[in-house]
Symmetry: D2
Subunit: 354 residues, 4 copies
């Protein structure tokens, strides 16, 4: 109701602030009998956690997921899966300088106005640390979607853009470079650029492309819960996301119908895939692909003018350990949210017909 | 559950196929005591309906909304508002040629596979005619949001793009031209282009920009139901939409944090508005603006190769009266869906604090 | 949200006041491919409608259901099933005498206070006429639950109580008498008593027992949505219902565990069925049985003291055509609500395990 | 969806098995700015926990609630309130004798059939231990409902029934005796009887009456979410509950309308309160009162015949520390569930009219 749950059947509800005792969540609606690979979950957590490489924040957060229920003898039991992720490295003092100050382009001002209080400890609930819960739940959703292959990668950093279609990049390259770009040459350029930006005390935006393969026909619910509408919501709910496009996307607006229509092969597959694997809100079996736009991180290491809660003009400067570019660490989050959407629709689709 | 309802508190549930007896819906959760201006609702319906101008489909559908409950003596009573829109112009015969054929880039194939049946009468539930119910409900939501001003306009058709910011266009121009472009000169070019495309028996895509003004601070719910995430879902749920971006959008990915951050004025307003009126998923009082990408209409008046339900290759050609470009008629739909999102969050926000 | 929808997957949303233009509803989530027997639906409507016999209200309401969508060529298509029931016999003048008066033990006072307005036309939304929509939807749910047998009957009228267990009565007798009692001798006594009460201008309460047979094991969801909890809510949501008990019910509170425990037979069936077919909130395959308590109808043909909206003491007397005892007509409503609960859980249970 | 959440706005989602690492839950939708009295929460937990007196189970479970989020500086922040209750006293070995055996009138059989697995450790998710989370959340709901007074008490144990109306008993007596009966003399009889039953290795059922005072007019939502329907569901969702009646309840079925109607006083209050404080599903400001029926606890210390998972007849005997009668400990659970229902409706009612 108040925005902390996601999904209809395979449902994730999360809680937790960046500097409270712990974050956590409940997965309700996961069917019984699913073998859970805890190592695979841990691996996803590692992909998201801070401090993995020289181009991301150097904060140390172990981000270990502790499951409290719903799994017995290695399998889901059908009861809700409760889990917590402890905040071991709270360092509240790092944030004391922003206690009464609204950081520009952060959620400080809007939260304060909406709720009438200020949890000034590092963003509180609006912190991107909350996405750790999504990755944990998404890792279980991935295991439910056994044959489906979800692959996200960085396709642009600032103006450096990978000018290749999803079918032309090299998925094997993604985890080989700290940027998580699906192209070796471009990854090197991007890494260098991010390091330069960090030296400036600045940040930069970027894009992530996600490709979903081996998806069965029929996932997604018309009318309001179209597959791509739910994917779009899922992506836009990730911190710093400013846009979403799937298939031909914004470029497709420039095309004519005679160019854009995906003609069928005899087996129901299509010759082109401008539809991005979704027609009428329902998967058609072709690869689903979409782009997600991330703005530059708002916390910069430069002096900025801002206001405090009294409305007085003050200056502030970011401190501590922040990401100069969010996209490398957002790759597993994009995948996790995709998995949550698909798992939900996969279950729901079992009820579509007698 | 199965995708036919939208909203949490101010909730719309719709039913109806393009060629059944009627479409309709129920609005549940509209507070009692709201004076209803039926003429204003009718006016919105007129903006969406076919046959308004020479550049849209020439089908004749009166699209009159009949309210069956929930309004008594000109005011809402707090009980659900049921309404129907009759399909007076069904012309089923127009569609007989597609009975066993899957139209390229339509929902025919995916619906058939998902539900195991085919309602071949003009798209059935996947028809854009369904959006009439959204416009009716949105018109009531607009009345609930008294002071909020929602303005959508066409900002591109094919490669013709209005290169002006939302603050530089002329809202008064929008209803003066059949394209609903917010710029007189560009409107003339766009109209000419759409006519040319129609002559070719082809279609073309386009974009709509929507601006929301006078919005109170505090609307939107973290974490999953961020204001822009719900707006994005709402837009992506409209037929033919391929992308959504708000504020700086995809262009914002190329910026640095030091450029992109919206510095505060003393009153909490911001010097720039790259955030697009939303920070941390919550409205900050600045204008909300976003772009919606529409693909070219799939039904073209040219011969296309396709397959039938037996998997045989056949040829087909669109018949009847279709839109060469969907964006002019989609303007009121974009506004209606925005209104539904905002009405819901406006009510929900009353419960945010004691 | 605001109480007009029921169910999670197989979901009914209703609208309509007793004296508006029409009532109606939408069934969302019914799987595609279900053959719909319209005559069977009509037959259920006939069982509920007024004027069937000399002991129920003599109002004439045809109560014909018109389906507007979701059914094509005799089968459900998977899209929402919209329907309307017109109010052909509105007779608003009958109710003018209560326009400013709060009828004792009716919803007039509470609706007025809650919503700040008064729809004085025969109860408005609180009228039992709303249950016609439940019967229509329940009739479809029954068709979905092919092999499940739901049988309700009147088990008491005032102090006249059928002292027989559900397994000892004669289901074939139910539709043979206007009381819908499952025992011929008792039916005659009850009918005579209701006639006497009506002559007095008075009303009387009663009970309905419902038995559900051939139910698969596994329906119902722990923890909050236990099968009997949802059945209880369903029954208590029917106008005039004051209580619900299942299995051993209130009598079971007097028993010892050693008497009450249902010992197993080898095949998993039980020797006794004090559990009422539900253990831990989940059906165990034994017959489900429960009792529903209905208060005497509040509208009596005797002069009563009451107050008007100014808080002045006034007198009023019921007019028109009301039921002296509600239970005979409530039998199909109890069955319909049972069917809605079971259909929903039946679908949901398909997702319980891999 | 799958039954682990309760409420629409003020929403509780729970997880946890009796013998897993911890139970817990998330409260979503509690408004910001509520001062939280942790001692009051702890006091409620103490009322529910085992081992409080000689007539309840002697298990030792500290049942301390640890809040992980949503409360900052003693007040709610508007973000979800996550909490855990550790299972410190798991004693799995106590349950090894039932590993392959279905205990009569327990949920063992139905869970196994529904989910295809068996969590034999003390009932798993079906254990009444789950109600600890309800009491924790209910304690917060109580604090939100500042002026509302919710009082539950034991009104019968076996055939020993307190023959007094809710207005005639002594609320101050309730916490003075281990039975939680609102009458000193009857409490002594009940206590003696429960001790006798325990000596027999047997168990017995009972009833709880709950009274809600100082409730504002207008809570509850027609049609399906009537106040008493939601209360009924809440109560029936508690382990071992077999029935629910409010106001005149089952006795009311024997009355005539002329006796049962609650005539108004000039201020809108009523001379009698057979309606039980609810008319048309909405609170009318009079005290709400209802009875809840609990069956005898299924685990008895006598030898019983049963079957194992192979369908073989075996004998078993309860071991360990169980309650001979569940009602004394269920009193705070009944209050907690009432508070959850009322808090939800109290918030929702703020949106009923403009």
């Amino acid at each position: 109701m108040a925005g902390n749950s996601f999904g209809n059947i395979f449902k994730l509800i999360t809680f937790g602030e960046s500097h409270g005792e712990a974050l956590g969540g409940i997965i309700d609606g996961c069917p019984a009998g699913l073998s859970i690979d805890l190592d695979a979950i841990e691996a996803e957590m590692q992909r998201r956690k801070p401090g993995q490489s020289s181009i991301v924040t150097q904060r140390k957060e172990p981000d270990t997921v502790k499951f409290l229920s719903g799994i017995f003898k290695g399998k889901t039991t059908g009861t809700p899966i409760g889990f917590v992720i402890e905040n071991t490295n709270q360092k509240s003092k790092d944030y004391s300088h922003i206690k009464d100050t609204y950081r520009p382009s952060h959620a400080d001002y809007t939260y304060d106005k909406k709720y009438g209080n200020r949890d000034y400890r590092g963003g509180g609930r609006s912190s991107a640390r909350e996405t750790a819960c999504r990755v944990a739940a998404g890792a279980i959703a991935k295991q439910l979607l056994k044959n489906v292959k979800i692959t996200a990668y960085v396709s642009s950093v600032g103006k450096l853009s990978l000018q290749k279609k999803y079918s032309e990049v090299n998925f094997n390259e993604i985890e080989n470079n700290p940027v998580r770009c699906a192209d070796k040459g471009m990854a090197i350029k991007m890494e260098a650029y991010i390091k330069e930006i960090r030296k400036q005390g600045d940040t930069v935006g970027g894009q992530i492309t996600c490709v979903i393969e081996n998806i069965p026909v029929g996932l997604g619910e018309p009318v309001f819960d179209k597959l791509h509408a739910q994917l779009g919501k899922a992506m836009l709910s990730i911190n710093a996301v400013k846009g979403f496009e799937y298939g031909s996307g914004f470029e497709g607006t420039k095309m004519k119908g005679s160019e854009h229509n995906d003609l069928f092969n005899k087996d129901g597959s299509t010759k082109t895939n401008y539809s991005g694997g979704v027609q009428g809100g329902i998967s058609n079996g072709e690869p689903i692909y979409f782009n997600v736009a991330f703005k530059p991180v708002a916390t910069i290491m430069q002096k900025q003018q801002t206001i405090n809660s009294e409305g007085e003009q003050v200056h502030m400067q970011g401190k501590g350990r922040h990401d100069p570019c969010v996209v490398p660490r957002a790759v597993p989050i994009v995948e996790a949210m995709s998995a949550l959407v698909l798992a939900d629709f996969w279950l729901l689709n079992k009820l579509a017909k007698l």
